[in-house]
Amino acid sequence: MSTSTAALLAGLVLLFPLAGSALCGLLGPVLGRRFVNLAGTLSIGAAFAVTLVIFVEVLGAASGHQAVTATLWNWLNLGSGNLNVSVDVTIDQLSVLMLLVITGVGLLIHVYSVGYMEHDEGVARFFSYMNFFIFSMVLLVLAADLVILIIGWAAVALSSYLLIGFWYERESAVLAARKAFITQVIGDVALVIAAFLIFVNLKTPQIPTYHGAAIAIVAPLPAQHAYTLSLPQIFANAGSLGTGTPLITLICILLAVAAFAKSAQFPLHTWLPDAMEGPTPVSALIHAATMVTAGVYLIARFHPLFDRAPIAAGMVAFVGMGTALMAGFIALSQVDIKRVIAYSTMSQIGLMIFAVGIGAYAAGMYQFLLHAFFKALLFLAAGNVIHAVHDEQDIREMGGLDSRMRVTAWSFLVGSLALAGFLFAGMFSKEDLLGFGLINGPGSPALYIVGIAVNVLTGLYAFRLYGRVFRGEPNSDRAREAHEAPSVMLWPVVILAGLSAVAGWALQWPVSFGPHLINDFLNPVFTSAGSGPIAKEPGTGLGLIGFFIGLICSLIGIGIAIRIWVRRDLDPSRALARPGLRLLPRLSFHKLYFDELYDLMLVRPTRAVARGLRRAGDPVMDSWIKGLSDVATDFSAAFRTAQTGMIRDYASYMVLFVLIFTIAVMVAAGIAK
């Protein structure tokens, strides 16, 4: 693909959602709901169409499609070229994969939203924000310039804030939006500092030339500062930052912090459950499929740096797996249907982060792809359920919905199986990346063992959710009166269910036989020049054993869950009543008390400092300003005494001045002469 084609196609993918956002936002209130529905959905449809074109081009190119970087326009050029920011886009397999998910799943969710927001007054605003989110996410994944990446990063956070707080009359929504945004700003700051460090320290080798021809000299010339913000150049020269040096470790740690903030990993994870205050399509799009995976994308994109900082990568892997375990534990006791799915997201992304932390980039991206399908499916189906029981989100009030909402129930079952990792999606992607964990990463088998424990937990909470919502007897009148969702909200769910079911079988098997399309597609990106070594695949025998162990653990979890919540012939409360275990449910329900901890550590001291400053500083500031005005008043009062109204006084002023002036002029003339 030539650069001009790339620029055109990328420009179109950026333009359509942006135009849709502007149209819905500006003309929507004027032209009405139908226009907004059409414009908001068609814009993403158009973007998806262009993405398909790009995909076909990338697939059809000669083997080993090289990344194409095109400049849309040059934005800043300062310091005689040292600070050059241009809106560059890069089209390679990684960005195409992300684009497919963003626009494809985004399109399905937009169609779903037409039905979900049918009775909402702010539909124009909603589609405007959603389209803007798609635009920012596209900008983020296409960016080939560090500044543009940061702009996309921040715009995504902004869209998230706008959409979480969409129902702004609800105080809980506003607070949740604020919490999400503030947490992500921490990540933004880390990202910006990392950008500074890269910009200042990146060097390109100097090639000595003599009359235009390169010569070889005994001692190599020192590298010169590159001062570039272009990602390809950064990656090409990543070696100049050292391998395993404190500098690159620091940069990678900062990048990881940014990724954690965006992907809701420990310790910056507290915003994701509260973000469920937003409408369900928002949760599906932003907090399942796309925005929270931006952190995974960041680490994958910056793999040349992470390959050279094993300490940082190791930390990433630990944090990812730890978060997966923690989130799975918490999801077991949550009673809000969306929160369970949110913690599930946190857990699955933890697995993705783990994968990119140990260098299994393709496996992590595979998990991202499949997770996008089944998580969006789960959220949309949950949206159907919430819609059906008239905005009730507590699963204790649900039950017995499978006979009342057949399509949704079957889709949800497919999604839960995909999540738990049996038969569909997760079985392939999760075991794929866990297999890498067998022999890669710090403490290699240890993290793998934690991973299969996560499998057990996943199976448990997934089928707990399914069982309580859809099986058994209805627990409330609302559940009894539930009915199936309208078709505009059913079709996206069904399509996603189909994708979740089929995609795993078709794309990549975690064992040495079967298709390996993802690896073939993505590995060129991760083995390009400038990157370090990627994770080693386990050999045939070990991989097969690992796969089966993981699968068995998933089945254990699913089985226990079915016995407790579907068939209702096992009761865990007696087991948990034993002294040591009594603490566990409480810890799980209160989300391991993180919110309270942060409140104590961060919020209260800040408020106390602010109160103290106000008490101490306000009088100072007030008196200072009042003092200024008092000075002016006193001065004017003093000068006013000169206005006596008596002509003689005014005349004396004049005479005095004339006297002084005359003498001064005479003296000056005398001196000048």
Partner: protein, 103 residues
């Protein structure tokens, strides 16, 4: 005729008349006397002008002095008319009393 030596004395007298008029403006409280002191100042200026005109053999000084006389006449008319009005409404003829322009 006259020698150059007298010229500084002419200027001195003009200056003396001028400052004397200024002193009168400052000291006297009767507005009529103040007006007359102002006329004294104008005459001092005329003296200086005519002195220069004669000294430099340029009649421009005399033209200017002529203008000054005209302006002084007009000013006296208006000023005395104002004073008459002030008197006719019953105010005291005292510049210290006429202090409406104070703060």
């Amino acid at each position: 005729m006259l020698s150059q030596a007298i010229f500084p004395w002419i200027l001195l007298t003009a200056g003396f008349l001028f400052t004397l008029g200024a002193l009168g403006v400052l000291i006297r409280r009767n507005p009529l006397v103040v007006f007359m002191c102002i006329e004294l100042m104008l005459n001092a200026v005329n003296l200086a002008l005519v002195g220069y005109s004669s000294f430099l053999s340029s009649e421009e000084g005399q033209v200017f002095a002529f203008m000054v006389i005209v302006v002084a006449a007009a000013e006296v008319v208006v000023g005395l008319g104002l004073l008459t009005r002030v008197f006719s409404i019953g105010r005291e003829l005292d510049v210290d009393d006429l202090d409406e322009m104070k703060r």
